[in-house]
């Protein structure tokens, strides 16, 4: 039985009484670690991550599912965390930008490729771009540039580092194919060098 505690009403209007709002405990598995937090039903996943868990790597830009900046992986699928309620993620696995590098700090090939190809300027869209690209590359391990253009169309970058992003995604795809083909050690070591 999950515990439900009542908090006093949270009115949306000064005059109309609003039924009491509840907070509920949920369990999120974020980057492999289990967190139990108490959220309101209306709490979005991005707010749960940023505010409740203090994980601010995921950015909030539009709050309307229109820009992709808040992209995280939910059970491996890319979702825009600003239009998913945290309670919908109870018991599910969330992967964010903070959990992408290997535990020893070795960056993901995408992270290293973003530096190489100047795929970011202000960096605000970058966590969303990278998380989106992780899912995209899993489904398209050998993408053409046109497939990347279309497959990454949901992630806006106002600095318009798009060309660098496309090249980085294509390059990372190549690196990832090479590292699954071989042991991967050489590639990852090179990536670690890129990031240092």
């Amino acid at each position: 039985m999950s515990q439900v505690s009542e908090v006093p009403e949270s009115g949306r209007s000064g005059s109309t009484p609003v039924p009491p709002t509840l907070t509920v405990p949920i369990q999120l598995r974020v980057n492999g670690q289990i967190h139990t937090i108490q959220v309101e039903p209306r709490t979005t996943l991005v707010d749960a991550l940023r505010t409740h868990l203090g994980m601010t790597g995921t950015k909030l830009v539009c709050g309307q599912g229109a820009c992709g900046a808040c992209t995280v992986l939910l059970d491996g699928e890319r979702v825009t965390a600003c239009i998913i309620l945290a309670i919908m993620c109870d018991g599910r696995e969330v992967k964010t930008i903070e959990g992408l590098a290997l535990p020893d700090g070795t960056p993901h090939p995408l992270q290293a490729a973003f530096v190489r190809h100047d795929a970011l300027q202000c960096g605000f869209c970058t966590p969303g771009q990278i998380m989106s690209a992780v899912a995209f590359l899993r489904d398209h391990p050998e993408p053409t540039i046109d497939e990347i253009r279309a497959g990454m169309a949901g992630n806006l970058c106002r600095c318009a580092a798009y060309i660098g992003i496309r090249e980085a995604v294509a390059d990372a795809a190549k690196q990832m194919r090479a590292s699954t083909a071989t042991s991967g050690a050489a590639t990852l070591a090179q990536d670690a060098g890129e990031m240092s």
Partner: protein, 775 residues
């Protein structure tokens, strides 16, 4: 030419395509932006905003908000008298009427989104619930929309005879009288629609007040850290030594984060009043309605030429929709007035820019800040002139371009006393490269072949100049500490331009130390460095040259001391990496950090001023588009940019800035429009109603560089952040019009959305039909 000194460093950092040092935190989710900052006991703010474009505030009742769980306090304007002063600022012309808002509106609201009250709560959800519960009673007033106004138009501000705030005038030669000698005079009205910059990071502010030390620290993403600090001091009545502004990472700014807004002041005031850290994080709706908008100009032009297509006179009376307050509106208007000239011979110029208030969000600088409008106007008029005179559109440009043998070329224009002189470059050669790379000579045959297949191709080829700097210089401080670390401080901020890397490259090159030893500190009012901030493509020019000069002076001081310690003349020394050695006897050496340590307990510091002089870099665009004749969508087939960035510090970053600016321009031309309806309500308040260019819209760009070091500063630097936007407006517009030439359309107004293209095609059709009917 750079200042020369003895033992000049052998390093080669300036010009190196170097990966950015600042990328890593942002790639792992550790980049700290304002909304990521958290302080213990921090409260959150939400702002109550006007839903009316123009209304009297009858009553603000915050009592219901106070009953919302989690709400701590709520304030209307009357409750915060200490900040109810108009924002600091001054008109640049004594005849101007100048009006700035207060942080909260007390009596009248003048645009949708103007702040009326603020709610403080334990968390954001509660703060927003509280804001929803605040009751504001308004008495609506008739809204003023658009710059076409007359004697019956309501006046926004008491005591003003009309909504005309200021008229900016620039004249050279005989001005409008220059038209008298023209063989042809072309008249046209051109419109550049209203835009919103839409940086990905919504504006935010965090204010922390330390009761014990009485120090106020305000964190926010400002492009102008020193101006922000001074304005906050003035608004809060605090001395300079009690207020510090720190700029965290900035998630895009593009000009709209130059001015101070109300929320920073409100957060600061409440942090002091309530004794808790305060955070306000805006949402996308606020980014659409509160943050400065831009462009919004209408031009009425008369251009006089001789029969051979030489421009004689350019006369342009234009109106700037300033929005409800002209807090920053004059900057773009001045820029437009002085930039229309561009890279051409214009013997007689008369620019008149009216700054007119309306009930809409204030407008101000956004990427290009008046220069894209200027380039659009000049280039489209050249298109019209070519068509009228039966000249090729490239040919008319070639006939008017300023030649390299005329450099430096004094345009005769003065921007607030500062002469506009084109310092160096070869514009005809640049344009020839544009024509060559885009395949201009072969294009008409290609176009005809495509049209035979039902594909509508069009070409655009244009020129512009990127004015970098505004004639004000900055200072920079360089310090070498006893461990040999080099601290570079400057009064600018960066929002993706790569200052931590480029400034380190400059310092490493001019000082001669390893790149890795350099740390760049900017965006902090406590550095003590001077300068107005990052805008107008000035950061590299003004702060970059200051860093270079400070580094050269520091090098000289350290070498002089090393010479003394090593008992050898300076020119007998080598400084490579960590050590300064006697060239003839390398065992005699000393670490530069040790030399610095011997000069003082904290090492040695030097402050120097840079060269703020304006420089002008050529930029030419060639573009081929394909317009879908049914959907009227535009696809970019080919895009060539030729640009002169002077002495380039980091080509990787320059490429990114140039292309990024061009893609923004592409969005500005094809997709983006902030529309207000006739009731004064903004029609684009979410990203699905204001289309930004995405990856799928972004073409590949061919970049070709010219290398004419600027003469306006010692390092030959030019700014590069805006040229791509400035030049793409006329380039794409020309190309789309060319593609649709079979339909007989003339495209005078931006943006060129499918809807507007549809209207233009239909208008041309009905014009033809009625002409046919009369025949």
């Amino acid at each position: 030419m750079p200042e020369t000194i003895s033992s000049s460093p052998a390093s080669n950092f300036i010009g190196e395509r170097r990966k950015r040092v600042e990328d890593v935190p942002m790639l792992v989710g550790a980049g700290q932006y304002t909304s990521d900052l958290r302080f213990s006991d921090m409260a959150e703010l939400a702002i109550v905003r006007s839903p009316h474009p123009h209304a009297r505030i009858v009553r603000v009742d915050t009592s219901a908000a106070l009953k919302v769980p989690g709400v701590i306090a709520a304030f209307a304007a009357r409750d915060l008298p200490e900040i109810l002063k108009p924002f600091p600022g001054a008109p640049r012309s004594p005849e101007a009427r100048f009006v700035t808002p207060t942080a909260l509106a007390a009596e009248v609201v003048r645009y949708v989104g103007e702040a009326v009250a603020v709610v403080v709560a334990e968390d954001v959800y509660a703060a927003r619930d509280g804001a929803d519960a605040v009751v504001v009673e308004y008495a609506p007033l008739p809204p003023v929309i658009g710059v076409v106004q007359d004697a019956t138009t309501p006046v926004l501000h008491a005591g003003w005879p009309s909504n005309l705030a200021q008229t900016v005038q620039i004249m050279t030669g005989a001005g409008a009288d220059g038209l008298d000698g023209a063989d042809v005079i072309i008249e046209e009205t051109l419109t550049i629609g209203r835009l919103s910059a839409q940086p990905m990071e919504p504006r935010a502010a965090v204010a922390v007040y330390d009761q014990a030390t009485r120090q106020l620290t305000v964190y926010f993403a400002t492009q102008s850290v020193n101006m922000a600090q001074r304005s906050l001091c003035a608004l809060l009545d605090l001395p300079a030594d009690r207020v510090r502004v720190i700029v965290p990472n900035i998630g895009g700014a593009f000009g709209v984060k130059t001015r101070l807004y109300g929320e920073e002041t409100i957060a600061a005031c409440l942090a002091m009043r309530l004794g808790r850290p305060m955070r306000w994080v805006g949402d996308r709706h606020e980014e659409f309605t509160v943050t400065n908008q831009a462009r919004a100009q209408v031009h009425h032009i008369r251009m006089g030429l001789d029969r051979a297509g030489h421009i004689l006179a350019f006369v342009d009376h234009f109106q700037q929709d300033a929005g409800a307050y002209n807090i920053t509106a004059d900057g773009p208007v001045y820029n437009t007035a002085v930039s229309v000239h561009g890279p051409y011979h214009i013997p007689h110029l008369a620019m008149t820019g009216d700054i007119i208030l309306t009930n809409s969000t204030p407008t101000g600088p956004y990427r290009g800040a008046g220069r894209p409008e200027a380039a659009y106007v000049m280039e489209r008029m050249l298109d019209r002139a070519a068509d009228r005179l039966g000249l090729d559109r490239a040919e008319i440009r070639q006939r008017n371009l300023i030649r390299p043998d005329e450099m430096p070329y004094d345009s005769g224009i003065r921007r607030q006393q500062i002469p506009i002189i084109f310092d160096t470059g070869d514009y005809p050669a640049g344009f020839a490269q544009v024509l060559g790379a885009i395949g201009y000579a072969e294009f008409r045959a290609r176009q005809a072949a495509a049209r035979a297949r039902g594909v509508y191709l069009g070409i655009g080829v244009v020129n512009s100049l990127e004015m970098s700097g505004i004639g004000v210089s900055d200072s920079a401080i360089l310090r070498v500490d006893p461990a040999g670390a080099v601290w570079v401080m400057a009064a600018v901020s960066q929002m993706g331009q790569g200052h931590p890397t480029t400034y380190a490259q400059i310092a490493a090159e001019r000082l001669g130390v390893p790149f890795e030893r350099i740390h760049v500190i900017e965006g902090d009012s406590a550095t003590g460095t001077q300068g107005p901030g990052t805008f107008a493509s000035r950061a590299t020019v003004a702060a970059g040259t200051a860093i270079a000069r400070a580094a050269l002076q520091l090098r000289q001081r350290i070498l002089a001391e090393a010479a003394r310690q090593l008992d050898a003349p300076i020119d007998a020394l080598d400084w490579r990496g960590e050590y300064i050695t006697v060239r003839a006897a390398p065992v005699r050496r000393v670490a530069y950090g040790d030399v610095a340590a011997s000069l003082g307990p904290a090492g040695i510091a030097v402050e120097a001023s840079g060269d703020g002089n304006i420089s002008f870099g050529y930029q030419g665009h060639g573009v081929i588009v394909a317009v879908d004749p049914d959907l009227l969508t535009v696809a970019i087939e080919q895009y060539v940019i030729v640009h002169d960035a002077g002495n380039i510090i980091n080509p990787l970053i320059v490429d990114g800035q140039t292309i990024g600016a061009a893609v923004q321009g592409l969005g500005n031309v094809l997709f983006e429009e902030m529309r207000y309806d006739s009731a004064g309500l903004p029609q684009a308040t979410a990203l699905h109603r204001y289309v930004l260019p995405a990856s799928i819209d972004t073409p590949e760009y061919t970049l070709i560089e010219q290398h004419f070091p600027a003469r306006a500063n010692a390092e030959g630097f030019r700014g590069v952040g805006e040229g791509g936007t400035i030049t793409s407006l006329p380039a794409i517009a020309q190309a789309v019009e060319d593609a649709l030439a079979p339909f007989g359309v003339r495209l005078n107004a931006l943006p060129l959305t499918p809807q507007r293209l549809f209207e233009a095609v239909r208008a041309a059709q009905s014009q033809r039909e009625s002409a046919g009917g009369m025949a």
